[in-house]
Structure formats: C-alpha cells, structure tokens
Symmetry: C3
Subunit: 277 residues, 3 copies
C-alpha cells in the first residue's frame, strides 16, 4: 500500500490516516523516522483522500522517549532532505508537520519526552492516556536547549511560569498535570482514548476540506513562531548539548542504561536527578 | 426609558446596565440585533452613569445559538452602520464592543454557538451556568471560518491545540470544559450565577472610572488582534460559507429543523456530525 | 556573610539562595526592600555559586501585602539606583529580576497583593500554600493601573477575560483559583510547599548553568513585554493613583486600619468593596 513505511504502521479509513509509530525497541527518533516522516508529508501533500492523520504508538509503554542520542549526526543528515529555508533541522521538520494541509492528532500512551514531546506539540491536537502517558522536556538536564519546538510551543501554551518549570526542571509530568498546564488538550482513561480520538478524527474528516485548511492556517498564523525563532532554537540544541558537562552527563546516563528498556527510560526524571557529572 | 431596544430588555441599577437579549423565538443574531447593539454602544459612549454592562438572555435555553443563517445579507447590511475602518462586518461590530469604555460581562445560560460564542468572547469577561451553558464554534462544520472573532480570541485564550480542537470539531463544550479550556472565566451553579455576576458588576461600577478605562485599554493593547486580522477573518466567513458544500450542508440542516426550537438546535454538534452532504 | 540584608534573611545551600523576605511588621515594599533587592541582584550577577533563588517570607501570614502606600515617593527614589533604560520605576526593578541569570522561584504563603503579586509574577515560577496564600491585584480599587508588571504578566498568563476580572475587580483569589487561572504554577498543601520548592530548586541548581541561562533567555524572549510597555505601565501607576478619588479612597482605607496587622489587610477585597469615597 501507498503508506507503508519502516517506522510507521499505517491504515486508512474514513478519510483518516492512522499512523502508529513502530520503531522497536524504543521508538527513538533516528534517521529512519525522520526520512519516513518527510516522505509521509510529501505523500500527504499529494493526497486528496486523507483529511486527518492520527499519530499513535504500537508500543503502549513508549510513545517517543526522545531522539536516539547516539545518532544525532545521522538523523541530522536526514533532516537535510527537508526543502526550504528550515532545511537541516528537526525543528524545521516538525514545523513543516504543523503546517501540512491535513489535521493532525497525537494519541499519546507511554513516555513522550524530549523530541517525543516536541513531535506531539507539533501536531494540531494532543490527547493522552491518564494511566500511562508521561511528558517531559529533558534537555536542560543535559545543559541543552530543546531544539525542535518545545520552547516556542510550551511558552505559548503554558505561559512563562509553567514553561520555565517544565523546561528548567527536566521533570516528568503525568497526563493529568499536562492537561492542567495546557501541554495537551485532555487526559482521559486509556480505555476511552482510542475511541475518542477515532471519533473526533472521523468527524473532522467528513467536514468540507477547504474550511479545515482555512481554519488551520488562521490559527497557525497566530500561534506558530517566526522562522527565525525556529532556526535559533534549532541551532542552540547541538551547540548546547555538546558542552563538556552535557557530554559527560550523556555518557553517564548511557552507562546507567539509557536507550534500553529499563529503569532509566522509565524513570528518566529520577535518573537525571541522580547524575554526578 | 433611554435604553429600550427591540432585542434587549434593559434595566439600570447601581451604575450597571443589565441588558437581557430577548429576540424570540431563538435569539438568533439578525439585523435588529446588530442595529440595537450599535445603537446601544453609541448611547453608552455618551453615558457617564453606566460603568458596567451585563449581557444575559431572557431565554434560559438559548443565549445566542448563532446568526440567522437565512438573513446573512440583511444583518451584513446592518453592520455597515458601524463607522470606522471595520465597518461592514459583524467582526467589526464585536471588536467595537471589546473597546467600549464600559466593562462588559457575559452571563451565559443555554446555547452560545457560532456568533453567539463570538459575542461572549468579545465581552470583557464570561461566566456560565454549569447545568445549561453550552459553547460551540460550529462554522467548520459548514466549511467556513468563524468571521467575528473566534479564531483570534480562542487561539489566544485556549492555545493552539485546544483552539484547533474547538474550531475544527465544531463540537459542543459544556461550561465545565469551557472553563478548563479558558473559553470562559468560570462555570458555576445556575442558582449562583446571577448573584455572582451582579455583585461583581456592582462592585466594579463603584470604582473610579478613569482607572477602569485605563486598565481595560492596557489589557486590550496586549490581547486584541490587529485590525487587519479582524478584516481578514470577516472576509473569510462569507467566502467560505458560500461554497457549494457549505450551502448544501446549510440546506440539509434547515430541512432537518435548524432555527426552530427543536432537536437540531439542542444537539447541534450531533446534527452536524450526521450531515450527508 | 555576603548575602545579609535588612529586609531579607538569607541562607545558601546546594547552589540555592534561600531569601526570606523579613520586613516587619507587614513586609510592605518600601525603599529598604527596593535597595536590598537591587543590591541582591548586583551580587547575584557576580556570583558563580548560586544558580537558583527561592523567595519566601518569614511571616506566614504576609508574603508581601502591597507597597507602603505612605512611602511611594521614597521607594520610587530607591528605584533610581537601577541602571539602564528602565531606571526609576518598580516595574523596571522587577523586570530586571525577570532577567537575572539565576532561576527564581516564589514560595508564597499568606497575602500577595498589588506589588506583592507583581514581585511573584516577576519570578520565573510561583508555588503557593493552598490554605493561606491569597493573591490580589488591588490597584483598580484605587482608580489606578498596576505599574510593576501585573497587566503584562496576567494578560499573557490568564488571557484577556480572566486578566480583566482579576485586575478590574481588585478581588481576592485563593491559591486554588490562582492555579486554575494560571496566576501561579501550582497550589499545594502548606505542609508540602517548602519541601517541594526546595527539592525543585536543588535539582535545577545541579544542572549545567549554561543550559539554564540559555533556556531562560529563550523563554523570556517570547514571554516578556517590550521595554516601552514596562515604561508605559510604570508611568500610569503614579498618574492614576494620584487622582482625587484615588487619594480619598487611600485615606479612607488608612483611617480604617490599612497597613496595620488587622481586618483591612486580612480582608482587603472586602474593605475595598465597602469604600464610600
């Protein structure tokens, strides 16, 4: 089928593309994910039948935990396939996602931290499972600035005080607190999440397309940052993550088990808090 | 009395004008409402005694369900009486409302959808009855962009994700959810609503007028959109609502009973979801 | 010790400066507080060891009730010690606080009204005790515009409708409502507050400094107002507070016991509502 990708399992129904992220063992963002997402958006541009895209995960425990820290240069190279003035950064790829014609919904179960949170923030809406979803913007724990949209989106959605807390603490925020802070649209019981999101997606997909596009554009006109800000944040991430202490803390977390299916990834906030470097 | 209008029942007490919308059978926004609102604002401009205006509805089930869809051209003509560079659009009329000297409070019971929600959003504050108030921005269901302020206000109040959900879904949102999303100041029990709003209005009306005006202006300076955006949205509404599918869906809803006191108006979100056109 | 001040009791631990406001009998903002705050910021600029500052109060009932209304000219003179283009206003002093390199957290118990609320708003985050914290922006009750940041921060954090309510009503808002409105990050039980804030501060203080600074700057770039707006509000406060009715209402409140440890300060919202002038 037309929408088969290495890192997404897809299904089309009622004008909705259901794209489940499936990149074992952990759904880390690597070059394959970036390439697939770019190819997916190119196809969506040329597709008249799909009006709404629902992003979920085939792994109930991990939505997207963060980028593959061992492959930053590699996925960075993949972002160069993005055309236009934001080429060459994950922030640019996610900004393109925020501007595609189709309406996008993130259906979040499990951990969505770092660029996983930023991917969800780039979507038009976010709904999350109360029991399992955990959000975190972990970059400050490595001495880094989130490079792919978190600073821009969280400051606008949460306001200055809560954006400061979320970003500077590198802490974990469950779905209920994420809802109270405005990070996501709503938290709901896991048993209801898929049904709710599917019904919403199918409903929207039946509406006249021109109106959806026009409304999305007008909302984006108000709420998305200037390209210069996207580029500034994108440049800050590699610059700040490569500081000596940032590198030492990354190594320490790798040694403790980061990027394996274990305690560090499950309690990332705790692991960051225990770092000695 | 000086404040008698066809579509508002008014009473002045303690420096507060209580203006109850009364335009049977449904409180639809038509040319009479627009003319009355413009005349009311002209009088308020020249009135030193009134410091606060409370808008409510004499119909406990319908605040303002939406514009009178059969009379768009007519009420459009009435908006031409607005002077200044926003003349000729409902968005311009509501923007003028946001900038009058007096402080305005919407006391909402019943359905406030479409331009009814936009009227409430144009007021300085909004309080709603938990049991009966229902908010909806229904234009996308007709392929249209809200033309009278919803895109601007909702994106700023709710943030990008929730504004997308509200506007793109054309769904119903009860008072509690509207409070959680920031659409309204607060939801409260119907039995307490009028007392709360009256006390708040009377309290504010006793404060020095110059301070109220200066504070309102400074808050507006930050939170109201540029005139160019008001005009852009105003132009988008007639353009998008007149698409062939928009017209077909409007006709289908009329045939099902829209604009009568029945199931369609009570379950507008459901009715939109069942459209076949 | 290096951080001894007349109006702050300080303690340094784990890279955190704990600065408890201690200016009996009421923690009013007077010239000593302004001078101390400016001196504190100068020292923090030159200090590499302190990464986070926690502001609390030694008085569990009064965080900062408001400025010392009898000494506006005096503390105004103290603000002239601020260098730069915002010199000469409390709004400029608080803006400087929002931009210091260190991360600042307000730990609020008791009354935080007027410039006390604005001081908390100038901090990077705000956490408050559910049982005792009360927030109020009381200036409109005197016919005045808040001059030290409230209009800017509250409009951005709470949105137009709730900022209008808070500022125009001059009402009291308890910690839970302040959380729902976005005025503070979170309300929590008083018994947990100090432990929570201390743990958060110590956690952040261990992170690489360069990343904290870079993140804070990027969030500030989006969320702080232009200097021209800081100056405009700063000029409006003395101009509006000195109106004849503003002066009469101030005198009436003084006669009733304002600025003593009594009923007026405990029920300021009620006292404003009962004014006859």
């Amino acid at each position: 089928m037309a929408y088969g990708f290495e890192t997404f399992k897809t299904r089309i129904e009622d004008g909705v593309l259901f794209a489940a992220i499936s990149s074992p063992p952990l759904n880390l963002i690597g070059p394959e994910f970036v390439s697939d997402l770019l190819a997916l958006m190119d196809r969506l541009d040329a597709d008249d039948e799909i009006q709404v895209v629902v992003f979920s995960s085939t792994d109930p425990e991990f939505f997207i935990p963060h980028v593959d820290v061992a492959r930053i240069a590699e996925y960075g190279k993949a972002t160069a396939k993005l055309t236009g003035s934001l080429s060459g950064s994950l922030g640019g790829v996610f900004r393109r996602l925020s501007e595609i014609r189709q309406i996008t919904i993130a259906q979040v179960e499990g951990f969505a931290r770092g660029a996983g949170s930023e991917f969800a923030l780039a979507c038009d809406m976010r709904f999350a499972a109360r029991e399992t979803a955990v959000f975190g913007q972990i970059e400050a724990g490595f001495g880094a600035v989130p490079g792919a949209g978190a600073v821009q989106h969280l400051t606008r959605l949460l306001g200055r005080g809560r954006a400061m807390e979320v970003i500077l603490s590198s802490g974990d925020f469950d779905a209920d607190l994420a809802e109270r802070y405005g990070w996501i649209n709503r938290a709901m019981p896991q048993a209801e999440l898929e049904g709710f999101v599917t019904a919403l997606a199918v409903r929207i997909a039946k509406f006249p397309v021109s109106g959806l596009t026009a409304n999305k554009r007008r909302i984006n006109d108000i709420s998305l940052p200037a390209f210069a800000d996207v580029r500034t944040d994108a440049a800050l991430f590699p610059q700040t993550i490569s500081s000596p202490r940032g590198q030492a803390r990354t190594k320490e977390l790798f040694d403790a088990g980061m990027q394996t299916r274990g305690d560090v990834e499950r309690d990332f906030a705790g692991a960051i808090g225990r770092l000695k470097s």
